[in-house]
């Protein structure tokens, strides 16, 4: 691409010795230079080779780099399992109020009453939404929420003197589920799903033995389907002393419709960066609060935000706590955004979120079913998974389709997830997208299906409108080039 798109600089390549982009005051205190204040052995031998650029260089460089991205603000971003909904601008304004953004984490409770109240109330609202008894806001993301949840389960079993060593996880699960569980010290046992993605309840019933600590499942599952026998499953587990964990990444499907707690789950995490509109930011930060039933409350991460009369405090005296997950109390900035969102929507609004998320996903599923293989017949919940199995036979893979979509002005669905669906394209439209956008996307998908037959070259060549074309992943992994150096 030439013109606006033809930019190929790294900030280091703009550097010019002696150019400055900062403005710092002269020292207003008397004193000796740092070279005299500190022993030489601690001081840098040579100044760090950071770029030397002007403020304007910085602004133009990063403005230009931003234009090499697709974002939700600029493109439909139907990435399944990620709930790429609109991130309200108001949330950003609120998170930037200096009473929040400029608050040090280690001020006294008395000096942070507004922040603590917000956290207390947010935890209570999330607990109500999920039907749980308590919520810890500390986990920094979904994966850390899982980790915290599994650790609480572990502490619970330990507190009862039980030695359970395994956690069962369906083969359709997101990778963080087994990873978090393994780090928590459990053996992960993968449970094979039925062809339709549902749990094989009978076989599960056989597997949940006395060595099983927990069963971890995503609801709706990663095929976008509600697990019809879920209450039966949680009952079976409980009957065997097994805790049930719900991966709440797909909560956007069920707000006000059904609640993890009511389904029998003992633990459930939230992804505030999915369901509750905190921005994804190119990969994070998010927030992964974890909700629990009361029997797990003693094990909550410290500190727990509590309310005493009219004041709020951080309670550190939790002898059975699993400990801390982050240095401080959670990704507070994200909590402000999620709080703002929930207070904007209210109960009816949240219910309407899920209603429309489900409607949009089903609309896409319907519109695509003639041209793509559908793994499980609808209705689906908030997302749908189609397969490019048919296209694959003609040499067009899910990846190819994703790349072609980029050329047509859309970000791509999640591909090859869940693992149990061949050539999976996992499409999550969210409730914030309009019918026109869904139609344009479906039209593009159908067009690609046609092109598969008539003009596959268009697809194999794609993308051609992006700042770069398909990239050599193998080379990247074989000869890792992870930092810039002047010779490059």
């Amino acid at each position: 691409m030439s013109g606006a798109g033809a930019y190929d600089k790294l900030v280091f390549e703009l550097s010019s010795p002696g150019r400055v982009g900062f403005s710092l005051p002269e020292s207003d205190v008397p004193g000796r230079p740092v070279t005299e204040l500190l022993p030489k052995k601690h001081l840098r031998g040579a100044a760090a080779a950071l770029p030397e650029v002007s403020e304007f260089d910085v602004v133009r460089h990063y403005s230009r780099l931003s234009r090499m991205n697709y974002g939700v603000d600029t493109h439909f971003y139907p990435l399944g399992s990620c709930t790429m909904k609109y991130n309200p601008k108001l949330n950003e304004d609120m998170a930037r109020l200096s009473g929040f953004a400029r608050l040090h984490p280690l001020v006294r409770d008395e000096d942070a009453q507004g922040a603590l109240r917000l956290m207390y109330d947010l935890a209570a609202m999330l607990a109500e939404i999920a039907g749980m008894d308590a919520v810890s806001l500390q986990p920094a993301a979904g994966a850390q929420g899982e980790f915290a949840g599994v650790l609480m389960i572990r502490a619970y079993h330990q507190s009862r003197g039980e030695k359970r060593t395994k956690v069962l996880i369906p083969d359709s699960a997101h990778g963080t589920n087994p990873a978090s569980t393994a780090i928590a010290g459990y053996e992960v046992v993968e449970v094979k799903s039925l062809p339709n993605g549902e749990v094989d309840v009978e076989s599960l019933a056989r597997e949940v033995g006395p060595d099983v600590a927990a069963f971890m499942i995503t609801v709706p599952n990663t095929l976008g389907m509600f697990e019809p026998r879920i209450m039966e499953i949680t009952e079976i587990c409980h009957a065997r002393g097994v805790q049930v964990y719900m991966d709440g990444a797909n909560l956007n499907a069920i707000l006000g419709i059904t609640r993890p707690g009511d389904l029998g789950f003992d633990v459930c995490h939230f992804n505030l960066h999915k369901t509750f509109t905190t921005p994804h930011g190119g990969g994070g930060p998010g927030a992964g609060p974890v909700g629990i039933k009361s029997h797990l409350a003693p094990f909550l991460p410290t500190p727990v935000i509590v309310k005493n009369g009219d004041t709020y405090a951080r309670d550190w005296k939790r002898p059975q706590s699993i400990g801390k997950l982050q240095a401080f109390w959670g990704n507070f900035g994200m909590l402000v955004r999620a709080y703002t969102y929930i207070r904007t929507m209210g109960a009816d609004g949240l219910r309407s979120v899920s209603d429309n998320a489900v409607l949009n996903a089903n609309y896409i599923l319907k519109r695509l079913e003639a041209d793509y293989d559908v793994s499980v017949p609808g209705p689906c919940m908030h997302e749908c998974v189609v397969s490019a199995r048919r296209q694959k036979k003609q040499g067009v893979t899910a990846t190819d389709i994703a790349k072609r979509l980029l050329d047509l002005g859309f970000y791509a669905p999640s591909t090859y997830f869940p693992l149990i669906v061949e050539e999976a394209l996992m499409i999550e439209p969210t409730e914030t997208e309009s019918k026109e956008t869904l139609d344009a996307f479906c039209d593009a998908m159908i067009q690609i299906a046609r092109e598969t037959e008539r003009e596959p070259a268009l697809i194999h060549e794609a993308p051609i409108t992006t700042p770069v074309r398909r990239l050599d992943q193998t080379r990247a992994a074989r000869e890792p080039d992870l930092t810039w150096s002047p010779k490059t």
């Binding site: 190929d8 005051p25 991205n69 400029r102 993301a141 990778g175 059904t258 992804n271 930011g281 401080f328």
Partner: protein, 449 residues
């Protein structure tokens, strides 16, 4: 009333339902067993209109002692460093702000390039070969380093200097529990690592020795000595370091560290009551395939043009699942972007100046405060921008009294170490003016009178 965050109108809903062949949205929810359904509306506070909500949020924000209204001398892992204006403007560009992890690299070159820049800057500052795309915060970075050291050495003990931030120790403990890794502590009676004690504790069972410099008390540790000691036992040296200080202080990698972790919040990320933060993670290249989290690498596209991708992904949970090097998925990419823009803006000279100013002001503050009768430095050691102060009255009382004067004088260390019941940890960044410092000294003198 329709919501401004939902697009579908009733008419559109009907049209879509017609296409789907369903009579109502309810029809789409058939797979949810009736008894699983919530039969009442969620019991949430009522929705607020934008203006009302803004008023409510302002009221909440006003109840906090923020660093705009209060003079902030609190540190201990979160610092009031200056944030140049362009950072916020640039990160708010929707293309950065609302993008996901760059899984489709062709449509994510903006994010990928900034991460590559970030990795380069962090590697340069820490003196390491490689840095990852970020971990949640400094504490969880340290925890990941402990797990990585364990995996790399197949040893089950981590020896931690007492100078490591106790909150980081707590998080490391949480993470090490599952793997059965044992933490052992080296005392720091004089505010620095007791090398003799360390030598005894670091053995053939030790996966890593962990030190922090400047440590929790603000004191500089002897990294080279620690490295020698650790390596002698076949253990790795993990150094916790705040990258904002590394414009002045030597990159721990050049002094022998194998892994450097730290909290990058000082690099342009608002304190925000402690999160989101920026977990910095850097390592020697020998360890690259064990690194937790994402890595961006340079490559070429079909036409030979330079491009960037997520690479070495077989380390990660979405591929390796239970055997991944870490469970991390969502990280703190946007905070890494803030840090990248911060470091580009400050640059070679600026970061150095930040360190110099902070040190100068911290030393001036220490001088002024220790002129007050009964007030002294807790440790006779070289310190950087933070120092432990022994007070003749309860630090907790002092903090309460100074808060009334809009001064946040520091962190009482009692909670972290009973032996330090008389000690206040004071941090001074380049943001504090002489006027504020003198006002602090004046107020402290009065309160102690």
């Amino acid at each position: 009333m329709a919501s401004r965050y939902i697009a579908n109108t009733p008419a559109e809903q009907r049209e879509m339902l017609k296409t789907i062949g369903a009579a109502s949205i309810e029809d789409l929810l058939v797979k949810i067993p009736p008894k699983a359904r919530l039969s009442r509306p969620l019991a949430l506070p009522p929705a607020l209109a934008e203006a009302d909500l803004v008023r409510h949020m302002r009221a909440l924000a006003a109840q906090n002692a923020d660093a705009d209204r209060f003079s902030c001398f609190v540190g201990a892992g979160s610092y009031d460093h200056f944030v140049p204006s362009p950072i916020n403007h640039l990160i708010l560009r929707g293309e950065f702000f609302t993008a996901y992890t760059p899984y489709q690299p062709e449509a994510s070159q903006g994010t990928l390039r900034t991460i590559y820049e970030y990795q380069t800057m962090i590697a340069e500052l820490t003196g390491m070969d490689v840095a990852n795309a970020s971990i949640y915060d400094g504490a969880s970075s340290l925890a990941e380093a402990a797990l990585m050291a364990h995996a790399a050495t197949d040893r089950r003990e981590i020896v931690l200097a007492r100078g490591v931030n106790p909150l980081y120790r707590q998080v490391t403990e949480t993470y090490c529990e599952g793997a059965g890794i044992r933490l052992r502590d080296v005392p720091a009676p004089d505010g620095v690592l007791d090398l003799d004690a360390a030598r005894k504790l670091v053995t053939a069972k030790t996966a890593a020795l962990v030190i922090q410099t400047p440590n929790f008390y603000g004191v500089l540790e002897d990294v080279a000595a620690a490295a020698e000691l650790a390596h002698a036992a076949g253990a790795l040296l993990v150094v916790v370091a705040d990258p904002v200080n590394l414009g002045v202080l030597e990159g721990p990698g050049r002094l022998g560290a194998d892994i450097v972790v730290g909290e990058g919040q000082g690099l342009g990320v608002p304190m925000s009551f402690g999160g989101p933060n920026l977990g910095v993670f850097a390592a020697k290249s020998a360890l690259v395939r064990r690194i937790p989290g994402r890595l961006v690498g340079a490559t070429v596209d079909r036409d030979g043009a330079r491009g960037f991708v997520l690479t070495l992904q077989t380390r990660e949970q979405h591929i390796r699942r239970a055997k991944a090097t870490s469970n991390i998925c969502t990280n703190v990419a946007l905070c890494a972007l803030m840090a990248t823009i911060y470091l580009a803006t400050l640059g070679k000279q600026g970061l150095q100046r930040v360190g110099e100013l902070s040190t100068a002001k911290a030393h001036y503050t220490a001088e002024q405060l220790t002129k007050i009768p009964g007030v002294s430095l807790r440790f006779a050691q070289p310190f950087f921008k933070e120092f432990a102060l022994r007070l003749p009255k309860s630090p907790t009382t002092v903090v309460a009294k100074l808060a009334k004067r809009r001064i946040l004088p520091g962190v009482p260390l009692k909670t972290y170490d009973r032996a330090l019941g008389d000690t206040l940890l004071v941090a001074v960044t380049e943001q504090r003016t002489r006027e504020e410092i003198d006002a602090y000294a004046g107020a402290l003198a009065e309160v102690l009178r």
